[in-house]
Amino acid sequence: MDGEKSVGKYEGKYEYLYHIADAKFRAFGLTLEEAFGNAALALFNVMIDTSNLQASEERNIELTSSDIKMLLVDWLSELLYLFEVDEIIFFEFRIEKIEKTGEGFSLKGIASGVPIDLSNHKFDTQVKAVTLHELEVEQDETGRFRVQVVVDT
């Protein structure tokens, strides 16, 4: 399973890696905001192919977390929570800003998607949760960001 290829200087938005029971992926971005958005796209594409969906709903998301890795987990977990409770499949992410605050890190953004319609949407296995296992948020020497996440399915 390869991630969606994007036009640009870097290889793709995300890629799936081998993990025996669960899904593990890396997501990339020229900014941290972009990498977090791509991680969210990878998360939803574990459950469903979002490539032909049209967004009709959106949710504002504001979070603060103790550290940058936990912010990534909290961001993805919040989307997963909204997916289950508000029943929306998200696939467009505009993260306005991730910044360091006194207590840790904060995120502000908008997630857009489409309400679940079981007669049209074909789901694979559901993602149960976002784990802290092998969690990575890194910036390489060219300044590009790379995040890594293992989800429980």
Binding site: I20, A21, I116, L132, H133
Partner: protein, 486 residues
């Protein structure tokens, strides 16, 4: 990549006997006890290096007793391995949500019938279709149960007992559940609003992934005397339900991982993996988690009980009879932590036993075994993967000596879901299984591919290791007739 040659794994392990392999304490810095893997040389071939790493990580946690253990179906998870068993001293040890997993009290129950395989097989396709429609499964499926807030609280508090008192079953069902269907320590006040919101609409649903509902029959009887006590005989049709605590449990785990992540720092516990976040067992944070986890476990017991009721209704309607003898044989949890008494180095001790992908397997005479089974030990229910054999075993004293009264929980994956979807074709598998007389009904074919029999270790091989070790003994083998899954 986590795939390594067997030689790497074998060179790390120290063979104790044909089925016991130890990870020495010098394998990883900080190990407080050795690791111990219960596995045959055949299953050793599919053991990943990651699993060894995870077992040795668990061995570094404070208060761990005897060994960090892995059952023969073990494979790598996150934090603790799947198939892991670890006991921590109540006073000096820890409690960890990672040692239970997200699907708190994922578990299995078996219901017997007085139907025989020959009368059911010809109508299996219709029956499985009916069950698939009556028991909601899959992502986004809606429950028929419209639980109110107070009913949800009651389910967190009283689990299967709540369900039975609300009309979903009979009182014998509760007696035939581990913990009588609910952990008394549960405190719904420790469960977050988010967990309630996720759990409420999913209450009374099967879920997705490896969860299923299967109609089976007794294909082979190994110990007729014990089988008789369990009410099982050759050719008899049974129903197996495999599911857990749905979004409620996932959110409880999620919430407390974050709380315990902070506690880990507060109490100065060094961790090799953040997913092992933990707190001293008797600390405020540790006990808050334990009480919330118990509420999640109770939700799962209530969930399986409600589904059982719908299965009975569907059978009654389908066969036009209500004398089908659909008694619950037993219900086991395979993702849970519990405070239990065990004898360690000749001394009785209270320990928090974490079983993550492992089944409790208590021996004859144990007070926690239902009275009707007390002479033969607890029924140990081991589901196979889709289309393969499941087993009923009985608990033994040996498990108390070797594994803190635990056995395996299933067959254990050998291949990832993603790889399975590439390698297997859902429709082909469905046809192959149909040719073997097994009807599979899923929301769509790729669900079948993800859970193809080929992505699992052989359930028979796993169970044979448990049997040979003597930590549980085979009673009957169950073969599938029909499977419904989300």
């Amino acid at each position: 990549m986590s795939e390594v040659s067997t030689n790497d794994v074998a060179s790390i392990l120290k063979k104790v006997n044909d089925y016991i392999w130890d990870i020495p304490m010098d394998y990883k810095p900080g190990m407080r006890v050795p690791g111990r893997i219960f596995v045959s040389s055949q299953l050793l071939d599919s053991l990943e290096l990651d699993t060894l790493t995870q077992v040795s990580n668990v061995a570094t946690l404070p208060g761990i007793q005897k060994f960090a253990m892995a059952m023969p179906d073990a494979h790598s998870g996150y934090g603790f391995p799947i198939g892991g068993v670890a006991a921590f001293d109540r006073d000096t040890g820890i409690i960890s949500p990672g040692g239970v997993g997200y699907d708190i009290n994922c578990g299995v129950r078996i219901i017997k019938t007085n139907l025989m395989v020959d009368e059911v097989r010809p109508r299996m396709k219709e029956l499985i279709e009916l069950l698939f429609h009556e028991i909601p499964s899959g992502v986004g499926s809606k429950s028929k149960l419209r639980a109110s807030e107070s009913e949800l609280t009651d389910a967190f508090l009283h689990g299967a007992r709540w369900a039975v008192e609300s009309g979903y079953g009979v009182k014998e069902d509760i007696e035939h559940c581990e913990e009588n269907g609910y952990m008394k320590i549960a405190d719904p006040a420790k469960v977050s609003e988010k967990a309630r919101k996720r759990g409420k609409p999913q209450f009374g649903t099967l879920g997705s992934g490896n969860h299923f509902l299967e109609v089976q029959y007794v294909d082979e009887v190994y110990e007729p005397e014990v089988a008789k006590v369990f009410g099982l005989h050759k050719g008899q049709v049974t129903v197996m339900i495999h599911c857990g605590s749905r979004g409620a449990g996932h959110q409880i785990c999620d919430d407390y991982l974050k709380i315990l992540d902070k506690a880990t720092h507060k109490y100065g516990i060094q961790l090799p993996d953040r997913q092992l976040a933990c707190a001293p067992a008797e600390s405020q944070e540790g006990q808050d988690y334990y009480k919330a986890m118990a509420a999640g476990a109770n939700y799962a017991w209530a969930n399986r009980q409600v589904i059982t009721h719908w299965v009975r209704e569907a059978f009654t309607r389908f066969f036009g009879r209500d004398d089908l003898g659909m008694e619950l044989i037993y219900d086991v949890a395979h993702n849970v932590a519990k405070l239990e008494e065990h004898t360690i180095d000749g001394e009785k001790k209270m320990v928090y036993v974490h079983r993550k992908g492992a089944t409790r397997a208590f021996p004859p005479g144990h007070p926690d075994v239902p009275r009707i089974y007390r002479k033969v030990g607890q029924p140990v229910l081991i589901p196979g993967s889709m289309g393969t054999a499941s087993f009923v075993l009985h608990g033994t004293e040996k498990a108390m000596e070797l594994t803190f009264g635990s056995a395996c929980h299933g067959s254990g994956r050998v291949s990832s879901r993603g790889a399975a979807k590439h390698k297997f074709h859902g429709e082909t598998i469905q046809k192959d299984l149909a040719a073997m007389g097994i009807s599979v009904r899923a929301t769509h074919p790729s669900i079948i591919a993800e859970e193809a029999p080929g992505v699992y270790k052989s359930s028979e091989e796993v169970v044979n290791v448990v049997h040979q070790l003597g930590i549980a003994r085979k009673v009957v083998k169950l073969m599938p007739l029909g499977v419904a899954k989300g």
